[in-house]
Amino acid sequence: MREIRKLLIANRGEIAVRVARACEELSIATVAVASEADRNALHARVCDEVVEIGPAPARESYLRGDRIVEAALARGCDAVHPGYGFLAQNAEFAGAVEREGLVFVGPPPAATRLMGDKPAARRAMQAAGVPVVPGFEGSGREDDETLAREAARVGFPLLVKAAAGGGGRGMRIVRAPADLEEALASARREAEKAFGDGRLFLERYVDQARHVEVQVLADSHGACVHLFERECSVQRRYQKIVEESPSPLLDPPLRARMGEAAVAAARACGYANAGTVEFLVGPAVGGEKPFYFLEMNTRIQVEHPVTEMVTGVDLVKAQLRVAAGEPLWLRQGDLALRGHALECRLNAEDPAHDFAPSVGRLLLVSFPAAPFVRVDAGYETGDEVSIHYDNLLAKVIVHAETRAAALARMDRALARAAVLGPTTNADYLRAVLAHPVFRAGEATTAFTARELAGWRPPAAAPSDDALVAAALAEFLAAEGRAAANGAGAGAGAPDADRFSPFARADGFRVGGA
């Protein structure tokens, strides 16, 4: 056992805030790292200490592993939590943390390295008896002629994928043999540019597939359990936007089989800590729905809260406990799914302009407090959304007894959530929730492209109600200022805001840039 007393959070936004909250409850002191742009960001404000690690661009700050390790040592930390994204799946960073005698809150570097190499992971999974999508993985450096021969064996349509890939980069769908050569060339180029690694492999393209992933939790003594699945088929441009648990697709026998496969996958790579095994589930063949290993995410995931809601397990706290060497306190038989949980990702993006990033100062952020509604937010009123980081503002998570009740609860939560300033995808998310295909639990990974490509935000024509509200807000603000001035010297102007119905985001903040 290695007691963790002080932890550096090598991340920003909502996940850094989430980790800090878990640390508070465990009486672990927290150190935030922040870029110059994030000096006064919410994640920096909620931690006990802040270390500035560089300019706004991530490659000069949040991706500077050397500076982060240095900061952890300088501030007397005994552990580092990487969150997700940035350095979370960088085995060199994890190794550097451990070499300095610090606890890395995540899997051993060897597990991250194995799972980060997709062809190697496919081979390891096959050896462990975990089904993989039919395909071909060789050295990754085969010539086009060899790959064409293997492609014919795999069958079309197929996917050309980058060995070091992720997020759809270096990936091409090939529908006919004639298109293969060009796809290989362009995928190789893109992979070389994005990852510095042009190795490729082939996978059969599973049409009408569902993306179902299984949460696992392993200690450093060889114990491993799974915490059931999350359905994440609703994606836009390979980015998940709505996640839920349980999956409407799975029945108890399939759930048990996929859970066992996920545990086998974790064991095969010597996994410890929280991780996620992603599977594709194909259309039923002879009454059986086939599932295939896709990849393992060797970190906490954005959508972990839905699992927390249905299992009652605090995954971030669990990460900290197993990282400290505590033997797993949960047995598979202790775990059960309760009710239905749903998560929506509220992004700063403009659906009216092809979902382009929408940035700027948040003039007002207001999330509803309601029964069984949880909001993990990275921002508050007055905070700045920067072009330098991803566009996730907050995750809205609900829990209910049934899926139908969870959908209704989520719709109300999104209707009541108010964000003024940057544009959000809230109305798009509500359109997903209202769509009959999604409501029937039948959305595949092609859902948004097929069903919502023509979706446009509802016209925001000024209604009389809106104009009444705008004018009254203005009128009452003026009245409040007059009242404050009338109150005489001493009370003064700063007090006027007390009367103002407007949200104002220009408030003074100590140390503000």
């Binding site: 302009h353 990033p357 109600d465 104009l467 119905p501």
Partner: protein, 179 residues
């Protein structure tokens, strides 16, 4: 009190009159009002107005809204509706259209708020349709501004590393057939 708001090109005028017997006095702003929108009168009770949140009763219906101000911009959102952007105007007079810069029609604009990460062309270059002129980057998204027609780069109006707003002209491209 009369206030003017512009949404797109349309301007609306809102008049506010406090009712003498409105049960007011209980807290800032609480009370009853007659609010007219372009001459249409509405009976309004303000139940609460604080911290950007307004709880109103308009013609007997509950209306919950959030409002924020940012310079002349007013953002208002009715519960469950998309946010609405208004511009506060001093008069009802229609706004004069902003004059466009010379050659503006040939200017290629940024279609998102982003950082300029590369400019693969130089002033004076002749380019084919589809040539990448400027690469923008924001939130891990890369967006290429490409030549919509064959042309000659007349001027480059941005720098690498610069942060540009949506709508900002980045490059002026003279159609080649006009040379």
């Amino acid at each position: 009190m009369e206030l003017h708001y512009r949404a797109g090109e349309a301007i609306s005028t809102v008049g506010i009159r406090r009712k003498p017997e409105g049960g007011g006095g209980a807290g800032a702003g609480a009370g009853a009002y007659v609010v007219t929108v372009d001459g249409r009168p509405h009976d309004v009770v303000v139940r609460a107005a604080r911290g950007g949140r307004l709880d109103l009763v308009v013609d007997g219906r509950p209306v919950r809204a959030h409002a924020a101000e940012d310079g002349a911009r007013r953002l208002v959102r009715l519960e469950g509706r998309p946010p609405l952007a208004l511009v506060r105007e001093e008069t009802r007079a229609p706004r004069r259209r902003r004059a466009r810069g010379a050659g503006g029609e040939e200017g290629l604009a940024a279609n998102m708020h982003a950082q300029v990460s590369a400019i693969p062309v130089a002033e004076g270059d002749a380019v084919e349709r589809g040539t990448t002129l400027v690469v923008l980057e924001a939130m891990k998204m890369e967006l290429r501004v490409v030549a919509p027609y064959p042309g000659r780069v007349r001027s480059i109006d941005c720098r690498i590393g610069e942060v540009v707003e949506r709508g900002r002209i980045l490059v002026e491209l003279e159609p080649l057939d006009s040379l």
